[in-house]
Symmetry: C2
Subunit: 301 residues, 2 copies
C-alpha cells in the first residue's frame, strides 16, 4: 500500500503549496482522492503513471478539492484514453463536468461514469475481490464524505517445502492457498494448516477531509492501519473550527487515539502557519504515531 501526497494544503493553490489531492495504490490499483486545481501537473511532477487511475473519489464540492477534475478529464481526452473512468462524488458533480464538456463542444472518447453520492450513512461505493471502498460521512459546510479503503483477506501463503514433504501435487496448490484441505499422492488427507500460513493481514486506509471534530466516525475507523485526518488549525485557533467546520491537530489525534488506529497522517493545513512541524508536535501530545503529509511526499505501508 502506497500513498502519494500531491497536495495537502487548505483553501487556495499557491506557488509552493497545492490543494488536496492524493493517490492511493492498493492491490496494484491506483485511486485518486480529491482533485484540487493543478492536480494533473502534480501527477506529472511526481511521475505518477496517472493513465492507470480508473477511480476518482471526490470528498466534497469545495474548489480546493475538485477544481482540477475537469482539467484531468480533458487531459485524459487529449491522451486518447480508452479505459473507463469512474468518478464518485456528491450530487452535482456530473452536471458541472458535463456542462463544461458541452461548452467546449467536447466529449470523452472513453466511458466516463459518475457515481453521485447522497447517503448520510456509510455505504460501499466500490468493491472487487481484493478490496472495498466505503464512504465515511463527515460534517462540513457542504455534503462531504471521507473514504475508507479496505483490503480483503488475501490467499494463505503456501509453505512449498512442507507441501513437497507431504507429496501434494502442484495442481492442488491453488486450493491450498484458498484454505482448503487436500489429498496427497498417497491418498492421505492433509489439513491445510500443515502446509500453509496466514496471508498478509489486509490493510486499511481512511481519508477524512474536510470535517469538524466528530466522534461519530470513530466506530467506523476502529483499528484501521492508517488514518489521514484533516488538521486545518492548531488548538490556538480552536474557535475557528466550529464556523468553518474544520479540525485542529489535537482533535485529529483524539480521533486516531479513540479509534485505535495504527498511524495518523495530518494534512489540509491552513496556509496561515509558516511551520507545519507545530501540527505534529500538537498531535503527538495525544497520539504517538503521527506523520505530516507534505506535497510530493510518499508513504509506504
Amino acid at each position: 500500500m502506497k500513498l502519494d501526497i500531491l497536495g495537502c494544503y487548505a483553501a487556495t493553490p499557491r506557488s509552493l503549496t497545492n490543494p488536496t489531492s492524493q493517490v492511493l495504490t492498493m492491490q496494484n490499483q491506483m485511486f485518486l482522492i480529491d482533485c484540487g486545481e493543478g492536480t494533473q501537473v502534480q501527477l506529472r511532477k511526481n511521475k505518477i503513471k496517472f493513465g492507470k487511475i480508473e477511480h476518482i473519489f471526490i470528498s466534497h464540492l469545495h474548489g480546493d478539492h475538485f477544481y482540477g477534475l475537469i482539467g484531468l478529464i480533458s487531459t485524459f481526452m487529449l491522451l486518447n484514453r480508452e479505459k473507463e473512468l469512474h468518478v464518485y462524488g456528491p450530487k452535482g458533480i456530473k452536471e458541472v463536468i458535463l456542462l463544461q464538456l458541452k461548452l467546449s463542444n467536447a466529449w470523452t472518447p472513453y466511458p466516463l461514469y459518475f457515481h453521485e453520492l447522497t447517503s448520510t450513512e456509510p455505504e460501499i461505493v466500490y468493491e472487487n475481490n481484493k478490496l472495498s471502498v466505503e464512504t465515511i460521512p463527515l460534517k462540513h459546510r457542504v455534503y462531504t464524505n471521507g473514504f475508507l479503503f479496505r483490503e480483503k483477506q488475501g490467499d494463505r501463503k503456501l509453505l512449498v517445502e512442507e507441501a513437497k514433504k507431504y507429496n501434494i501435487d502442484v495442481t492442488l496448490f491453488k486450493s491450498l492457498k484458498k484454505g482448503k484441505d487436500v489429498v496427497s499422492e498417497e491418498g492421505e488427507l492433509i489439513k491445510n494448516e500443515l502446509v500453509t500460513e496466514p496471508g498478509d493481514a489486509p490493510k486499511s486506509y481512511a481519508f477524512c477531509s474536510d470535517t469538524v471534530f466528530s466522534e461519530n466516525i470513530i466506530p467506523q475507523l476502529s483499528n484501521i492501519d492508517v488514518l489521514y485526518h484533516e488538521s486545518t488549525f492548531l488548538e490556538e485557533q480552536l474557535k475557528l473550527t466550529e464556523p468553518t467546520k474544520h479540525s485542529t491537530a489535537k482533535q485529529a489525534a483524539t480521533i486516531a487515539k479513540k479509534a485505535n488506529v495504527k498511524q495518523l497522517i495530518l494534512g489540509h493545513y491552513s496556509t496561515r502557519y509558516p511551520d507545519i512541524e507545530l501540527f505534529e508536535k500538537e498531535a503527538e501530545e495525544v497520539f504517538p504515531n503521527v506523520s505530516l503529509a507534505e506535497d510530493g511526499k510518499s508513504f509506504e505501508f
Copy 2:
C-alpha cells in the same frame, strides 16, 4: 503598456508549461486575458498584484483558456475582495461559474458581472476615457473572440518653459493640455501649438488566439502596435491547421505583415515541439519584428 505572459502553450498544463493566460497593463489598468488552469499560481509566481484586475476577457470555452477562472474567482473570495469584477466571455460562462459557486454553497462578497458575448461582428465591450476594448471575431472550433485594446489619444504635453515665456496663468495649463488656445496675462491670444506638443501616440494591442488563418481580421488589425497571434504549429504540420482550426507561425506572420502591425508575438505552441525558436525562425521569413511569448516573460512597449 506592459504584457506579462503567464502561460502560452496549447492544450494541457504540464510541469514546465502553462496554458494560455496573460496580463495586459494599459493606462494603469490591469486586464487578464484568458485564464487556463493554474493561472492564479502563475499570477503569484510572477508577483503580479492581481487584486488590481477588474476585467477578465475569455476568448473561448476550451479548457486551456478558462479552467482557471473559477479558482481565481474563488480566491478573490477568500482574499475578501470588495471591488467589482467583470468577466467577458462566450455565452455559457456565467452558467458554469455560477453552478460551481452554487455547488460549493458560496457566493462572492464582491460584485461579479458577466458580459456574455454572442456577436460575430466586432463590438466594443469595454470603454472608458483612456482606452477601449473590442472583440475580434475569430474562426475556431467553438465560438471565439480575440480582443483589441486601444489607448485613446491622451492630453497634449505642456512645454512649461514656453508657457512661462508667454506669461500664461497656471490655472490655464489644463486647458492647454486639452488642446485649447488661451489668453495670456497680457490679454494676448496664445495658439495652443506654441506652448504644447502632441501627447504620446496611443498604443494598441491585439490578442488573437485560438484561430485558423483568416484574412478577415486584417482590416481590424491594420497598423496596430502589437499583435499576439497564435502559432500552434509549424508549416510542416500545415495539414493539421484546418481540422483543429489553428495557425502556423508563417500564417501568423502573414497576418502581421498584411495588417502592417509594428510587432508580432507568437504563442500557443503545441507541446509537440521541443524547441520554440523554430517558430520565430519560420515567422521571420515573412515578417521581421517577431518575438516569442514564454511563460513568465514580460514585454514593455
